[in-house]
């Protein structure tokens, strides 16, 4: 099967195989990405992040259904943590989205973090591009359940939604740096639980104190995802934000920044592996390591010399 050709024709198995090639860093992955790249740049990418158990998957399910009702096609990438000890993972986000599985306009892919610490996996951005080239109108990227500082999602998404739930801390939590700074749209899920209104007040206080705020004040919406309450309003908030960033040049700026990051990521990883390979093949790697261990030289000098030799 010609993966690229079949993917562009709308073959779901080809899309699935492409993501596997990307994720496993098969040799053909780079070639697939090269060929898919010209077909990307059309999808709207929505990031969904928040603590474990906040209801991200349930909310994704409900939002995806609402977009399907509008006739839009949906891709979902759902990330769960990989064990740092065994490399294994339980990817359990699909369990909240079973009703979407047999809808041909929806494609869901679960990914393990595989050592990445920012809430995504290293290959999430490329998997998004594969779905984009496939023709999905909207791509949801659901992060792992995050703590305070996993903010990589902002680099991958056009609009980032932070999902919070009542009862997770006091108003000091609300003034800390980290994930609360990255929300373009806030959703307070499980709003039927005690403390939802207090959390809305605290979030508003946080936003009132935000000295860096632009014209966009992130809206805060109370939602009960399991009962489909507040979904319409949430979609309106997402769409308002997308309109805002489109009209103010922010979207262009974000996508320019993303293009730069994409290039730098590929650059760093390719140069790194090229030099490593050369060092290993020539036997210099072991030689340098021994010298460094014996304190005859140091890693900084070695790298300066290697760069002088190889990157003339």
């Amino acid at each position: 099967m010609d993966i690229v050709e079949e993917l562009l024709k709308g073959n779901r198995l080809a899309l699935s195989r492409a993501i596997t090639a990307i994720e496993n860093e098969y040799d053909e992955a780079m070639d697939i990405m090269k060929k898919l790249y010209p077909h990307t740049g059309h999808a709207f990418v929505l990031g969904i992040t928040g603590p474990p158990g906040a209801g991200k998957s349930t909310l994704t399910d409900k939002l995806a259904r609402a977009y399907r009702a509008q006739g839009k096609t949906v891709g979902i990438i759902a990330i769960d943590p990989t064990s740092p000890f065994t490399g294994g993972a339980i990817l359990g986000d699909r369990i909240r989205m079973n009703g979407l599985t047999t809808d041909e306009g929806v494609f869901i892919r679960s990914m393990g973090t595989r050592g990445s610490l920012g809430g995504l996996s290293h290959k999430t951005a490329d998997a998004v591009k594969a779905m984009d080239a496939f023709g999905k109108d909207i791509i949801f990227v659901e992060t792992v359940g995050v703590g305070q500082s996993e903010v990589d999602i902002v680099k991958a998404a056009d609009t980032t939604m932070v999902v919070l739930i009542p009862g997770m801390g006091d108003d000091i939590q609300a003034i800390k740096a980290g994930i609360l700074e990255i929300g373009d749209v806030f959703t307070i899920n499980k709003a039927d639980h005690d403390g939802a209104d207090k959390l809305v007040r605290e979030m508003n206080m946080m936003l009132d104190l935000d000295g860096l705020m632009t014209d966009w004040r992130p809206p805060i919406q109370k939602v009960i995802a399991s009962q489909n309450e507040g979904i319409t309003e949430t979609i309106e908030n997402i769409e308002k934000h997308f309109k805002y960033i489109s009209e103010n040049g922010i979207l262009t700026k974000r996508r320019t920044e993303r293009s730069k990051n994409e290039m730098l990521d590929v650059l760093h990883s390719n140069i790194g592996s090229y030099i490593t390979k050369k060092l290993v093949e020539s036997g210099k790697m072991d030689e340098y390591v021994e010298q460094i261990k014996a304190r005859e030289t140091d890693p900084y000098t070695v790298v300066s010399n290697v760069m002088k030799d190889m990157l003339k």
């Binding site: 198995l13 195989r17 064990s83 993972a89 339980i90 990817l91 699909r94 599985t101």
Partner: protein
């Protein structure tokens, strides 16, 4: 960097997923990526999830007695989708006398109650493509 991906699913209507969860956890500890889809899956849902997740293995658990109907159906749907190399295994309360027919239908192995989880891990490692 290839990682074994396993879909663990419960086809049919019985609501007992303790066994499936124990197996899912054991497979996780063996270093596999386990996509757990939970209870009450139709054969169509299982086959489509297997396709979207590009899994190497589909592991199904049934305690209701519907295995003679549901297991072969899942096998056929997965093969129809062009996934010829997926290893499909089953488990649950399955009478010994039913096992030959299930294997004939394309279920690679059937694990009945009392099977050490390590046996399932070893079987997957030995047979996965």
């Amino acid at each position: 960097m290839a990682k074994v991906r396993v879909l663990v699913a419960k086809p049919g209507l019985d609501g007992h997923d303790r066994g499936a969860k124990v197996v899912a956890r054991a497979l996780r500890d063996a270093g596999f990526e386990v996509i757990y889809t939970g209870l009450r899956q139709t054969p169509e849902q299982i086959a489509e999830a297997a396709l979207q997740e590009d899994v190497n293995v589909v592991a199904m658990s049934i305690l209701s007695g519907a295995h003679p109907h549901l297991f072969p159906k899942v096998v056929n749907l997965i093969r129809e989708k062009g996934m010829d190399d997926v290893l499909i295994i089953g488990g649950g309360v399955i009478p010994e006398t039913d096992i030959p027919a299930l294997k004939e239908a394309g279920i690679a192995e059937v694990f009945t109650p009392g099977t050490p989880t390590g046996d399932i891990v070893e079987f997957i490692k030995a047979n996965v493509k």
